[in-house]
């Protein structure tokens, strides 16, 4: 395949809180190819949203600090000035958020917000922009597009608002769409429709998608490749089939076992005991060790590195350094 649209190298994002520097994203690297859908999975608080905000240059300053490289079409966004980032945001990289109910401005009409999104980046007149807005609303499957542009967000349902958000994000034809849990707040049938829509748009426009989620069901539905995040690090990366059929990292195995219906034998909803460690406590060793059934002495003292296995699968776990490995049928969790 051709060169990746975005390549993140050793991204570190930390926040300064009363003297202490709290690392939230701890040196993650991944890439997304043009037109590809990459899933980023992980429990709440593992740093998924902070990763996406780092790419967008929207980490709150001055408390936040971003280090490492974010190569977008070869340009390092990590040290691009705000004026450059503004040109990229919404135009080359667009974003949709988890909360469709509150992500649209309540005091402006749908049309005003869509038209504005174009006119920030293109010198179009109102009429052209409006025509494009209507076209986009149709594209995302909204009925009565001509009337809709005169309506306010509160007149729309959550699912409709998320469609509007998608239309708004796609309006400048971005090369990359970051979707931060776009379906989490929606009910199941609407979730499926939105995912279907994103898949369709990905095919039609060849926009690459970085799909952030904590739902492996979403990953199975639309992603081609997955990166599993745990406590600010990527612990495993593989294509979607491999992740479900041959997961390597004990955390990934635990995640898959906790998905209902994913493996029909399991009736009861399995969940990983323990909690995601709070960021800040930068201790040596594997951050998953307190919850891992396979933890060894080494695990608490030394941090494993991301090791490449066959087929581009990567895993960060001492078990694979020593060639032992775990099978999906094993109990992954203590």
């Amino acid at each position: 395949m051709n060169k990746p649209i975005i390549e993140v190298k050793e991204l570190k994002t930390s926040f300064r809180t009363d003297e202490a520097e709290v690392p939230v994203v701890n040196g993650i690297s991944f890439h997304i190819n043009p037109g590809e859908i990459l899933g980023i999975v992980g429990e709440s608080g593992c740093g998924k949203s902070v990763t996406s905000l780092s790419i967008m240059g929207l980490v709150p300053s001055p408390s936040g600090k971003v280090e490492g490289e974010i190569l977008f079409k070869g340009e390092n966004l990590a040290d691009a000035p705000e004026s450059r980032m503004r040109k990229i945001r919404g135009n080359d990289i667009a974003m949709i958020f988890q909360e469709p109910m509150t992500s649209l401005n309540p005091v402006f009409t749908i049309g005003e917000q869509l038209i504005e999104s174009i006119r920030i980046h293109r010198k179009w007149n109102k009429k052209m922009a409006e025509a494009r807005a209507v076209e986009m609303l149709r594209l995302v499957g909204l009925p009565r597009a001509e009337d809709l542009i005169r309506e306010y967000p509160h007149q729309l349902s959550g699912g409709m608002r998320q469609r509007v958000m998608i239309a708004m994000a796609m309006i400048c034809d971005p090369a990359l769409l970051i979707a931060d849990e776009p379906t989490t707040a929606l009910d199941v049938t609407i979730q499926a429709q939105i995912l279907e829509l994103m898949k369709k748009l990905n095919k039609e426009t060849e926009t690459a998608i970085m799909m952030i989620t904590h739902d492996l069901g979403v990953v199975a539905e639309i992603c081609e490749r997955v990166a599993v995040m745990y406590s600010g690090r990527i612990v495993e990366e593989a294509d979607v089939r491999t992740i479900f059929q041959d997961p390597k990292h004990p955390y990934t195995i635990g995640l898959i076992q906790s998905v209902p219906d994913m493996r029909d034998k399991k009736e009861r909803l399995y969940s990983i005991p323990g909690n995601v460690p709070k960021p800040g406590a930068a201790q040596p060793g594997c951050p998953f060790a307190p919850r891992c059934a396979h933890a060894m002495d080494k695990c608490v003292t030394k941090t494993p590195s991301l090791k490449s296995l066959s087929d581009g699968q990567k895993v960060r776990c001492w078990l694979y350094e020593d060639g032992k490995g775990v099978k999906l049928n094993d109990t992954a969790i203590s």
């Binding site: 929207l58 135009n91 958020f97 909360e99 309540p106 504005e116 999104s117 920030i120």
Partner: protein
Amino acid sequence: MFSYTIRRLTALIPVLLGMTFIVFMMIRAIPGNPAQIILGQQATKKAMAALTKELGLDRPWPTQFWEYLSGIFTGDLGVSLKSRVPISEEIWPYLAATIELSLVAMLIAIVIGVNAGIISAWFQNSWFDYVAMVVALIGVSMPIFWLGLMEQYIVAIQWDLLPTTGRDNIRDPVEAVTNFYLIDSLLNNRFDQFIEVIRHLILPGIALGTIPMAIIARMTRSSMLEVMRSDYIRTARAKGMKMFWVVYKHSLKNALIPVVTVIGLQTGLLLGGAILTETIFGWPGIGTYIYEAISYRDYPVIQSGILVVAAIFVLINLVVDLLYAAIDPRIKYK
């Protein structure tokens, strides 16, 4: 919206009726006999009785009230005991003077207050924020009479920069047309007088505008801070919008909703402050008019003066309610 306005106006009638009654009764509770004050200490019993009868003050109060009320509905506010001129004919210059002063004070308060609040929120914890909020804190607790006297002492007397009293230069008075001197001086093609009118407005305008300015600044700041944390502001930034527009367009319109309430309340309270300011700065407004009427026991003037002020207060509140609907599309008045 139109029928709502009509209904709100209709609902004002009982409110104004009640107010009229309360004012009517309160004034009769003030000790002192108007006939005696008009005729002086040496007046004979007979002359006093004759005058009381002539003024209609000998009749039972329900009759007096009824007459007064029916007068109001035909636009007759009664006749001044002192000048013997119908109040509806002589009240306007005073009222215009108060309105002009209040509008200027409110203009100062809104323009400076809203912008200071916005900039403080935008650059939270900057030196500007700290200075503005300390000044606002002092401003809120500043007694009008003290501020007014200090202004007069320092700016007008010590520095001799601005006049201490009145609306215009006594030796070159503005020829009244509308009684708004800012307008009249321009209508008369007297730009020099226009400047002179502005010079007279500055000190009382600041004295009267400082408290509302401080309150508006604080309200705007906290409202902006809340709005700027919201999801739709993040959306606006993710579109690539300039921070200036994120603040002044997307944030401000939402933040204004509570600010408008405060502005409305403060405009109402301003009428009270205006009376105080007028006495300090010898401003020939409605406060001065009522104040003089009180020392003269000029019942009709006190009554009608207070009634007019109260009616303005109620009308301001109505305008504020209608403004909400203009700003916030979620509010629909039926």
